[in-house]
């Protein structure tokens, strides 16, 4: 039954049906003909899939980015970045990776990061000579690393189900997160060398000052978001709302680059992208529900964890199943469904729960940027209006890097648990 479900899904997907169809069709057929539950639970689950407050950040950051790119803010911010890194080998790409990693850790949403950083940075990457596929792949993969950098909702959910310490998990995520960022930065440098991405002239300090002056108001944007969240003034979701407010103040009152009557049409384009992405988040939840009710997770445990598995075996299997799960469904949903199933097995095999948490969240990060289904791929495809293939074409190098790092993280627990070896 499960095989049929997956097969139907892949065929409908490849034929070119809107992606919500392969996601809901299987669960719908299951619900109508096979499951004891009333099929209208599908609707309940779809609504449930988009009922999280965390999701507010997505349309809000899209809205803010739309306003800033229609006006002057984003241009001035990027001029500022360019003045300092444009002359360095791979400078823009490394900056993009760093910005995505940092911003993602703060906003708590990989999708919001794809929009907020990706939208302005992609344009600049294209202008200096990067291929679009590389730019898009860099953006979606670097955004995902944010799940590893605290604060991360992934760790919080895992902690409750595994009864582990959130504080220790936050610490343990830093090592792997930084390692992935360094690998991406290294790759960006080599890529820029190999493809000979042209370097801008070094900007004189006199001009740098001038550009910085012009970017003064736009620079308030990161200050307000980062300072506001870490200073405890607002939550990451509220910061998304405040960033829209700030963008409006800059463009309407200070730069006077647009009239207030343009706002509804900008909001419309934000709404279009939001709907295209959220309907898939909703459908993914219905899919997760059907898989769970059909008993697939329990089948996995029974099939693959009989006997007396070693800790390393358990960790690799956990990695594989979380990776596969997150290829289809929102990572947070996967963590909620699979964690309680794997925790007893891992405990028995003597796996450190903190180490396991890092492996789990790492796979969640990797999975959401990996085809066929991945919320970040959807988001990038909708936001940049690029076809699905365009978005994933450049991802293989990044995925290979992620897979290698993920094997290292599994085998060497020191990468995650480094803090236990520190003298203080």
């Amino acid at each position: 039954m499960v095989t049929t479900l997956v097969l139907v899904m892949v065929i409908f997907l490849l034929l070119g049906f809107p992606m919500m169809i392969p996601l809901v069709l299987g669960p719908l057929v299951l619900a109508i003909f096979f499951l004891p539950q009333d099929p209208y639970i599908m609707t309940q689950q779809m609504i449930g899939g988009i009922s999280s407050e965390v999701l507010f950040a997505v349309p809000l950051f899209i809205f803010a980015a739309d306003i800033m790119t229609s006006g002057r803010t984003s241009e001035r911010l990027l001029d500022f970045v360019g003045a300092f890194v444009g002359h360095l080998r791979g400078g823009y790409a490394i900056t993009t990776a760093a910005a995505c990693t940092l911003f993602g850790s703060i906003s708590g949403s990989t999708q919001a990061t794809v929009v907020a950083i990706g939208k302005p940075m992609r344009e600049r990457l294209l202008r200096v000579g990067y291929k679009d596929s590389t730019a898009l792949a860099l953006i979606i993969n670097a955004s995902d690393v944010a799940l590893l950098i605290p604060p991360s909702i992934g760790f919080i959910i895992y902690a409750l189900f595994a009864n582990a310490s959130v504080g220790q998990l936050f610490l343990a995520g830093i090592g792997p997160g930084v390692l992935v960022f360094l690998c991406f930065a290294g790759y960006a440098y080599i890529h820029a060398r190999v493809f000979d991405i042209p370097l801008a002239d070094k900007v004189l300090w006199k001009n740098r000052l001038n550009i910085t002056w012009k970017a003064l108001f736009p620079l308030g944007f990161p200050v307000i978001i980062v300072g506001g969240i870490y200073g405890g003034v607002f939550t990451p979701i509220e910061a998304a709302g405040i960033s829209v407010l700030y963008a409006l103040i800059l463009e309407l009152l200070i730069f006077r680059s647009m009239s207030i009557f343009r706002i509804p049409s900008i909001a419309l384009s934000t709404g279009l992208v939001t709907s295209a992405v959220f309907i898939l988040v909703a459908s993914g939840q219905a899919f997760a529900w059907a898989i769970n009710v059909a008993g697939l997770p329990q089948m996995i445990v029974d099939t693959f964890f009989g006997g007396d598995p070693t800790a390393l075996y358990v960790l690799f299997m956990v990695a594989i199943f979380f990776f596969i799960g997150c290829m289809f469904v929102d990572p947070i949903v996967v963590i909620m469904i699979l964690t309680p199933i794997f925790v007893p097995v891992a405990e028995q095999a003597g796996v450190d729960p903190i180490h396991m948490g890092v492996v789990v969240v790492f796979q969640a990060a990797l999975g959401s940027a990996t085809p066929p289904f991945g919320v970040d791929i959807f988001t990038a495809s909708a936001v940049f209006n690029r076809s699905y293939l365009d978005v994933i074409r450049g991802t293989p190098p990044f995925i290979i890097i992620m897979v290698i790092v993920s094997i290292l993280v599994i085998v060497f627990e020191e990468i995650s648990l480094f803090y236990r070896y520190l003298p203080f």
Partner: protein, 337 residues
Amino acid sequence: GGNGDEEAGDDDGDNGDDGAEVEHEWDFITEETPGQVQHEYGLEFAERLEEKSEGSIEVNVHEFGGLGDEVDQLEQLQTGQVEMGIVSPGFTGPIVPEAQVFSLHYLFPNDQETVQEILTESEAINEHLRSNYEEQGFTPLSFWTEGAMAWTSNTELTSPDDFDGFLMRTQESPLMLESYEAYGANPTPMSWGDLYTGLEQGQVEGQENPIFFIEDASFHEVQDYLIISDHNNYVATTSVNNDWFDSLDEDLQEMIEETVEEMQDVAFELQEELNESHLEEIEENEEYPTEVIELSEEERDEFRELAEPVREFFREEEGDDAGMILDMLEEEIEEMS
């Protein structure tokens, strides 16, 4: 959803020890994860029913998240998608507003044993409040406590003055907001998923929960004080879907009711053990030290005085029967404590 204990159940079947065929397979939902009170309750309840029926009843206990969130689960119980489970008033608030009576501060006595006794014996609860539930498609066969609520904070909260301007996290319920406004706090609704980070970064300064949940969700890691305030109790109900329960043979109904009754003591011990061991873990945690403060009776009185007027808000806002149920309950509490 599945768990290790279900596996054990399957093994029994494979070995054919009990011989009997499974005639009834029921789903039992909980709002908590394995190891927490509700889930442990569910497993014990399932085992007792299986034993009594000599293996002809199988109860699948689901942890939180397996079949959707608490509100999804509640709907499934209302419509009969699942047969029974544990639901708490925090999530039935909008459909059974009268159940918000459990959110009132300092209505019940401090002593948990007395609380459990009142929950078990009270006519206001087990007849009148129960009939408010019945109108919604499901019936609570029992009410029981999962422990008293405690506050956590980075400052000492020992008098209402300490709440002045304090950013207190609550759920979205107007009554809970009202309760903390009465102390002069700024109650701030926030989902629990954001709460750890919110406490760490200071978007909210404190929160309330039963002790076992505080430890499980690691809130003590980002807070300096745990205040044992006993301002109210986390009350759970063991509920059944009406249509399903009515369709059962009488002897099955009796068997379930009897088991639910037995479970009152089991539940009490479960929560006591769990809350005590988790409190110990919080106290002994050297990596994230937390000072535990227990409010004195005089300190409680200060809060009690300010909490009293909120009962008027409850009478007026929380459903037609709110006033009647509260009056009766107040009398019963007076008698029993």
